[in-house]
């Protein structure tokens, strides 16, 4: 119960008792209670005038890395007998050391500061305002306010390093890169032979062919390597990511996405990211380290969600991706996705599907009963069939058992064959 009200009720009780019994001594008992109430009123907290500052030891960290959060409060107003400061801990962050709730006494112009340590899961955390409440010293009256102390903590996803991701989009950009451009010129891989032109290096002359045609010289041509437009599509739909109440493959999808983005942007490609879930979260195409940071921050903030509109991949806004570019779809896949993916392919995109395996994921926590095993075999067959049909439609697939390192899955499916193996016609 409200303390002043409770005290007043007791006062009234004594007053009534005193009047009813016409006893001065009973009325005299009122004095301590009335004085207590008056003292609380006399020392009621004045207007709260506080200057609050929150600072973080790091604003951009990897998962479970410790971050020190420091709160500094300065009193610009009258003395505050009891000041409770509550800094609500955001969902996803774990308090490791210190306290987020403090009770202090602040003299005019007095200040206080404290630090607590948190760590967190992947996410983009915007700290909420501090809730402060000032009380009189007897705790009867309270004045509560929220004070903004903006701070942002980005916990970036874990980025596994991939040695090589080999893609072959139909169209490349003009800048030199690592993607075979299907155009002859200077490069590493043999592309063809053409007539020798003035300015060609004599080292390029193909002497075998030139010997057969005494009137002309012929020179070797190599395949140009350029950068390409790549769109990464992260499937954030609940229906493809969530299993049961608290199991989700989305974190694995994010890790896959981060790894592929990192590898492709390191190769110099122009990269864009689309998170397709509850709504569309689009990161515009770009190059280099700045773009890498943008994409990692977008991935940090990515959340799975459900939406009637985006329940299937059919509503994918393909116009966001340049014509004939490479699209990497990171999705556990559901049976209805086949049509949409083949549709992308038919529009001229080179499509690669990276699919965290939901069957092995579910099996990792389900009880090993015969029913579960039978169900798993059926679902695995269905999934295998879906992947095979996608491959048949010219879509590269990476089937990733999330218990295994992502690097191994990518190396097997998208690793580029070394030059010395390619020269003898052997796969990697």
């Amino acid at each position: 119960m409200n303390r002043p009200l409770f005290l007043a009720l007791n006062l009234y009780l004594l007053l009534l008792a005193g009047l009813a019994t016409v006893s001065g001594d009973v009325l005299a008992l009122l004095a301590p209670l009335a004085l207590y109430l008056l003292a609380g009123f006399w020392r009621a907290p004045a207007e709260i005038k506080l200057h609050v500052r929150r600072s973080l030891s790091a604003e951009r960290v990897s998962p479970h890395q410790n971050v020190d959060v420091t709160i500094e409060i300065t009193n610009r107003g009258a003395s505050i007998e009891e000041l409770t400061v509550l800094d609500d801990l955001l969902l996803g962050l774990t308090l490791l050391e210190g306290e987020t709730r403090h009770l202090i006494r602040l003299a005019p112009n007095g200040s206080a500061s404290w630090t607590y340590t948190v760590s967190g899961l992947r996410g983009d955390y915007q700290f909420s305002p501090l809730r402060v409440s000032a009380r009189d010293s007897l705790g009867l009256l309270q004045r509560t306010e929220t004070l903004p102390a903006p701070a942002r903590l980005i916990v970036l996803p874990f980025v596994p390093r991939l040695k090589q991701v080999s893609i072959r989009p139909r169209r490349t950009r003009v800048y030199a890169g690592e993607i075979p451009a299907r155009v002859g010129g200077s490069g590493v891989d043999f592309f063809g032979v053409r007539e020798y032109q003035t300015g060609d290096s004599p080292r390029r002359i193909n002497w075998h062919i030139s010997a057969r045609h005494p009137n002309n010289l012929y020179a070797n041509e190599f395949e140009q390597e350029r950068v390409a437009d790549v769109g990464i599509l992260l499937d954030g739909r609940d229906r493809s990511n969530r299993f049961g109440v608290d199991k989700s493959l989305f974190e694995h999808s994010v890790i896959a996405c981060a790894a592929i983005s990192d590898a492709l942007i390191t190769q110099g490609n122009r990269l864009a990211l689309l998170v397709y879930g509850q709504y569309l979260q689009w990161t515009i195409p770009g190059y280099g380290k700045v773009q890498r940071e943008r994409i990692l921050q977008a991935l940090a903030a990515a959340r799975p969600g459900g939406s009637e509109v985006f329940a299937s991949l059919a509503h994918l806004p393909t116009r966001l991706f340049p014509v004939h570019s490479q699209i990497v779809v990171v999705s556990p896949l559901v049976p209805g996705d086949y049509g949409a993916l083949v549709g992308l392919r038919s529009r001229g995109y080179q499509v690669t599907v990276v699919s965290p395996d939901p069957v092995s994921f579910e099996l990792s926590y389900l009880p090993a009963t015969s029913e579960v095993e039978t169900a798993a075999r059926i679902v695995r067959l269905e999934r295998g069939l879906l992947l095979r049909r996608l491959q048949g439609a010219g879509i590269q697939t990476v089937d990733w058992d999330v218990e295994q390192p992502f690097d191994a899955a990518v190396r097997a499916a998208l690793g580029r064959t070394p030059q010395w193996l390619r020269s003898i016609g052997r796969p990697a």
Partner: protein, 164 residues
């Protein structure tokens, strides 16, 4: 520190009431009060904070009843002051849980104890003085003062609930 003072105030308050009732020839009530004091102490040990409000109300009712049944007013007054002290400290101890460091606790405990002691002592002296000197009022004056007190209290509480 606060906890020690809290326990002392419970024992003192309830003990004073029990002693008053014992002196007025009501040993059954005195025994009941001692049992209640023990319950209050157990409740504090177990952090049942709500019990303090019940304890305080019981002390208010029994002190008024004691005065009415001619129990020594001094003991009754000591009882109500002790209960007020205990009720206040019980809530203060709960608030102190938000002060994680010893220095924060110490900076709050001392001024609070000084203030509540001052208030309780002044209230005790005022009450005792009015009991000793027994100012005589006619019924009209008593009724007027009571009405004034009721209106004043209502205004005060309303203002406090609005936030001062």
């Amino acid at each position: 520190m606060t906890r020690v003072v809290l326990f002392v105030s419970i024992v003192t308050g309830m003990g004073a009431l029990a002693l008053g009732y014992l002196e007025s020839g009501q040993p059954a009530v005195a025994r009941g009060l001692l049992i209640f004091a023990a319950l209050w102490l157990i409740a504090q040990f177990r952090n049942w904070r709500w019990f303090a409000s019940i304890g305080f109300s019981v002390a208010v009712i029994l002190s008024a009843y004691g005065v009415w049944t001619s129990a020594p007013s001094g003991w009754m007054l000591a009882g109500i002051v002790g209960a007020l002290f205990a009720w206040d400290l019980s809530d203060f101890e709960q608030r102190l849980e938000n002060a994680p460091t010893l220095s924060e606790r110490e900076s709050l405990e001392r001024p609070h104890l000084i203030r509540i002691s001052g208030v309780a002592a002044l209230g005790f002296v005022l009450s005792l003085a009015s009991m000793l000197f027994r100012p005589q009022f006619s019924f009209e004056w008593v009724a007027f003062l009571a009405l004034l007190a009721a209106i004043g209290l209502t205004q005060l509480v309303a203002r406090m609930r609005r936030g001062g």
